[in-house]
């Protein structure tokens, strides 16, 4: 089973949204679609969630071009798809990675949505041996209760590198909480009860 694809839809028309989510439901892919009502709401969501796909009405870009370009820069892995049912100028349309039109056949809409890159990382080959040596070291330190900063100092790497390793550990194991990862570390003999704080 692949990871869930998160899709945000910024589109004032409920009809269009319902149509898109009807198509999405029939695609047999694990995905979650969220209807968003305003640019502010999108911004707020993007600050704490990753979306693989954002479908949006081009009129929002027209009025907030600069804001959108900076949002796009901050989320490089996100694909931006325009939902077109009116004519817009080329500069606006150039913003999108791809455009679907409301007259497109279902297959085309589905295929545009399907091209979404799988969230990075292996899909279901989650197991301890898959962790790289560095990731195992980070996990060991995490299990004994060190903070990101402490791990960075101890392993002589930057905090950002620690954070990247942690992200990859979670993607590979599927386990998100530190206490869950600690149990995982003990199961895989990367840590023992004695040195866990």
């Amino acid at each position: 089973m692949g990871k869930t694809i998160h899709i945000a839809v910024l589109e004032p028309s409920v009809l269009i949204f319902e149509g898109l989510s009807g198509i999405a439901e029939r695609m047999d892919l694990p995905l979650r679609m969220k209807h968003i009502g305003s640019v502010q709401e999108l911004e707020k969501l993007l600050s704490c969630h990753n979306y693989e796909l954002i479908l949006l009405n081009p009129s929002y870009i027209q009025h907030n071009a600069r804001q959108f370009h900076s949002l796009k820069k901050e989320a490089p892995d996100t694909r931006w798809i325009g939902i077109s049912y009116a004519v817009f100028d080329n500069t606006t349309m150039a913003f999108f990675d791809e455009v679907i039109s409301i007259t497109d056949p279902l297959e085309r809409v589905a295929s545009v949505m399907r091209k979404t890159p799988e969230p990075s990382g292996p899909k279901d080959n989650e197991n301890g041996s898959l962790l790289s040596e560095r990731e195992k070291e980070v996990l060991q330190q995490l299990a004994v209760g060190l903070s990101n900063k402490e791990i960075a100092d101890k392993l002589n790497i930057s905090i950002n590198t620690v954070i990247t390793h942690r992200k990859n550990i979670t993607i590979k194991t599927g386990i998100k909480t530190v206490s869950g990862l600690t149990i995982y570390a003990v199961v895989n003999k990367l840590a023992s009860l004695d040195n866990i704080r």
Binding site: G174, I175, S179, G180, T182, I183, V186, V187, S192, L193
Partner: protein, 239 residues
């Protein structure tokens, strides 16, 4: 699964047929204090007897079987007390019933399985339990009483609303207790080494899933039914 297209009509069919089509609905009815035996009752009749709006029960049933809410749910602010009663019944189910069962199964697992990680699993569960308890306490002591006051305003027994609080805050408060439960389930099915304890594990897995499912529907009800309803009342009372 509830998604099958030949699912009996929720509002028209007999409750007994509904429960046979999806056994999880039995627990849902119980949360509404509609108990066995169901006899020949339809949802409408059972709701009339229990004094609940059938549209509310039908809406919750839809969420339970994995469908989306009907367009125009027919739920009004008059249903707020019933919604709160439902959610509180969920709470007692968690605290008095399913959590003790899960704790007992984890205890059994730890007793039969001497591996090093079992004490950690027990601790993990207790930490998770405390978080859930705290969340439920917040709902019982802050969110629900507030919603009660919003409701009383609609019935004329007007009390000033605490303008500091709004149901939006409640939405934000909905955090990721689901994440811990998800980790626990994943550890159980993928990683924790077994020691001839498959049956305990299977029972535990089923219980954890039952809890997970009920919690998910619980927050869907809050997000999709309760919060929008309260928000519309807030708008009215503050405009």
């Amino acid at each position: 699964m509830g998604r099958s297209p030949d699912f009996p009509g929720i509002e028209q069919g007999s409750l007994a047929a509904l429960v046979r089509a999806d056994n999880r609905l039995l627990l849902m009815l119980e949360h509404f204090e509609i108990l066995l035996p169901l006899r020949e009752k339809t949802l409408d009749e059972a709701c009339r007897d229990a004094g609940i709006n059938p549209e509310l029960v039908a809406a919750v049933a839809r969420l339970y079987i994995g469908r989306r809410l009907k367009i125009g749910t027919g739920i009004t602010s008059a249903d707020l007390p019933a919604i709160i009663r439902y959610l509180k019944s969920n709470h007692s189910f968690y605290l008095d019933e399913i959590f003790p069962e899960i704790r007992q199964l984890i205890g059994q697992l730890a007793a039969s399985n001497r591996s090093e990680e079992m004490p950690l699993v027990q601790k993990f569960f207790e930490d998770y339990y405390r978080e859930v308890e705290e969340h439920l306490k917040y709902e019982n002591e802050i969110a629900f009483p507030y919603i009660g006051r919003v409701f009383e305003n609609t019935t004329g027994e007007s009390q000033p609303l605490n303008t500091e609080y709004s149901v939006n805050e409640y939405r934000d408060h909905h955090d990721d207790i689901e994440q811990k439960l998800d980790d626990l389930i994943r550890l159980l099915i993928k990683y924790l080494p077994g020691q001839n304890d498959q049956k305990i594990r299977r029972d535990l897995f089923n219980k954890l899933n039952e809890l997970d499912y009920d919690l998910r529907v619980h927050s869907m009800i809050e997000d999709q039914i309760l919060i929008p309803l309260v928000e519309s009342l807030e708008k009215k009372s503050r405009s």
